[in-house]
Structures are given as C-alpha cells and as structure tokens.
Symmetry: C2
Subunit: 237 residues, 2 copies
C-alpha cells in the first residue's frame, strides 16, 4: 500500500477516519510498521489524497486525521477496457494491473473461447472485484474507483452496447494478425477490446470490425492476457 484508501463511511464529522478491518490494520502494522503520530499518504475513495497523521492506533482501530487531504488523484487513462473474461487468477491480476495503470471503466465480456465455468468463479463476486480494484488504487496512489460491469452475451454486447461505447471514442480491437500495429501516445478517448486466451473467433472479429473498430496487433509474439493488457495500455497512452 503506497496509500491508505479510506471510504466516506470511515470518516466522521470531525475529519477523523477510523479503520477497523483486519486487512488494513495488519498491513499498517506489518508493512508500514505504523506508530501513533506517523504522517502517512492517505486518500478518500473518489476524493482527494494527501498526507495525514495516524492519531491513534489500538488493537482494533486506527484513527487518521484526514482534514488536510487536498491533492487530486493522478490523471485517469481515457479508455474503456473491454476484456474477454480471463480465467480467475488471470482476471484478478489483470484488474489490478489495469487499475494501477489508470483504467476507470472495465467491461468483462463473454466470447466463444471464454470457458463458461469462468462465469461461476468466486473472483467475479463484486466484493472480490472491489478488493482487487482497491489493491490497484493503493499501489498506484489513486483514489478514483473504476467501474466494472459484465456482458455475458457476445451478440447482445455487439448489437446493443458497442455502438454507444464507440460514440466519440476510437474503437481498437487488439487481435493477432490485424493489419495495423498498435498506435502510440494517443490522447483521444479509446474503447480497447482484448480477446481471451486463444483469441476472438473469426466471426467475432468480423462483427467488431463491422461495428467500427480498427484492428491492431502487438507483433508476432503471442502474449498472455495480463501481459497484453499492460503492454497495450502502456503503448497506447
């Protein structure tokens, strides 16, 4: 944790935030070796960040002074990431990488080569997803919580949701063998679509290109989803 992320619910009227959950308390003690009086980097979920004092620390509560938080979080990436649902452990890491890199909108998509059992994984539980988002924010010293939703049918996604995701945004479909190399250093809004292990099937590629996406590739190497997501985001922006 490069930042202690606090929620509005943690904060009382006097500008004090009380942390009581075991994960953050254990991390404060073991990694930060925090002691009463320490000044640490704190952030309010979807709010400002800055330096604040650990006013008190007991066995079951850490109390922070958050009255002085006045910095804006780092800039977000102008991207909506549409990711074919990866297998559970890959999903967790991909969400953490993408969040740390500044992605604020993620849609998890079904496609032919996504194993149906992945949709039953406990990793898709909103509380688990929230946990990975928080880890990504704490890593990158960010406070703006990404929004994650799902699209459990490929055809309804392409027909009903993709057109609005492409309004005012450049749609980029990352897929091996596409004609153009991944562009670099973009500043415009992008909707980035990334396939599953094994890739989108030909029909799916055709549907997304027909909807207005441009096909892009990262070269002849085939990358794991989590490597590809980080490599694409880092090269695009």
């Amino acid at each position: 944790m490069n930042l202690i992320l606090l929620t509005r619910n943690d904060v009382d009227d006097a500008g004090l935030a009380r942390v009581r959950d075991p994960r953050r308390l254990a991390h404060l003690r073991q990694v930060h070796r925090a002691r009463q009086g320490d000044v640490m980097t704190l952030g309010l979920e979807n709010g400002p960040l800055g330096r604040g004092q650990l006013v008190s620390l007991t066995d079951d509560e850490a109390c922070f002074d958050v009255s002085g938080l006045d910095q804006a979080p780092p800039a977000a990436l102008p991207v909506h990431l549409v990711l074919a649902l990866p297998r559970p452990r890959m999903l967790a890491r991909s969400i953490e990488h993408a969040t740390a890199l500044g992605v604020k909108r993620i849609t998890l998509l079904h496609s032919r080569r996504v194993e149906k059992s992945y949709w039953q994984s406990p990793e898709l539980d909103p509380a688990k997803i929230h946990q990975h988002l928080v880890l990504g924010l704490e890593q990158a010293r960010d406070t703006a919580l990404p929004v994650v939703n799902t699209a459990r049918g490929f055809r309804p996604f392409v027909e009903d949701r993709l057109p609005s995701l492409l309004e005012g945004r450049r749609g980029l479909l990352a897929h091996p063998g596409m004609a153009n190399a991944c562009p670099r250093g973009l500043t415009e809004p992008v909707t980035l679509l990334v396939g599953p292990e094994g890739g989108f099937i030909e029909w799916e590629v055709e549907q997304m290109l027909a909807a207005g996406c441009e096909g892009i590739h990262l070269g002849e190497r085939i990358l794991r989803v989590e490597t590809a997501v980080t490599a694409l985001l880092s090269r695009l922006f």
Copy 2:
C-alpha cells in the same frame, strides 16, 4: 504452450525428437488433446521453428518429426534488463513477462531495498529460472533462450560491470521522479535498469546516473515491478 519447445538432446540423427518429461506430456494430452498424426507448432531451443507432425504418442513418450522446421524465431528486443531482485513470486512472473516480450539478457541485481532473504529463494535455482524462461518462450512462440545472471553486490556491479553494459548502449534508469518521461519506439540497443519495490535509494540512483545512465519515469503512478517491467518494455520498443 503455443509452441512445443524441444532441445537438441531431444533430437536423434533421423530428425525425430522424443519428449519424455511429464510436464510436456501432460500438457500435450490435456491442453492440446494431441493425437498421433497431429501437425503442431514446434521449435528447437536456440534454433528454427515451424510445423511438424506428432509421429507417435505413448504413455511415456511423444515423438515429433522436426525435419521441416525452417522459420526464424521472432525478433528479440535490443535490451539488457537489469532488475533489482524482486520477491520470489514476482520474480517468476517478471521473468515470464520479459521473456515473452523478447528480452534475451537479464541481470538480477542486489540493491539496498532488496531483502537479503530473496537471494536464498528456491526460485533462483537455475532449473527453476530455466522453467520460467521456457514458459515465456512457449507462450510467445520463440526459441531463443534468454541468458540470466546475477549481481549480488551493488557497488561491484556499478564499478565493474555497468560500464561495459553501457558501451554502445543507451542506459535508462527507470525511477519515479526522474526528469524525463520514458521514451517511445526506440530501435537502438538499451540497458534498462529497474529498481525493487520501494525503489533504488538516492545514493544508488546517483551512482547509476554518474555512470552514464539517463533517468526516466512512467508518470506519477507507482507500479508493481512486474507491471512496470512490461509497461517499460512495451513503451520503449
């Protein structure tokens, strides 16, 4: 495995390669659902790759015809990666990411904020490192095995080895707060130095800059080592 990687030792004089280790045999059966007669993507370690037939498959041996392999592996990245030794699980993943992206030379470096216990990890066993290199090659359809070595003292590394690593190569030190943003789309040879969790200490940064490295940063977000390595390589090349 997007490629079955075979060693020279696997190959006999008749151009047949025999695979007997349980990992590859299990993967052939369970993931590839391989059957006698199948034509698959094969590669010879540090040699060519291409399509070849699975001539026979028994409980304890798969035999491939490698006489037709005639393609060169994908281009390597012109980079020597010097990585402060990450904690063991992060090391394994960082090596796989870097190998899949095309890095061919990796030096694992000690620095002040590397926990000394990491040097005792079984993950540093050459056989374990080799395993992660092979996984990275199989993922990316590459055959050229990276060379990994260690530098267990920071000062001897900077004084004795870094100068020759910078001969004819641009030295780039990735560190938060450096003056210049990470450059994009380089084609010249680079030596890229990446610090541990918590970063290089100020004295170490000064030593590397004095040796001729340029400091670069990836923005105000603090990334995990494995995310940073992929993000740097993807943006640089």
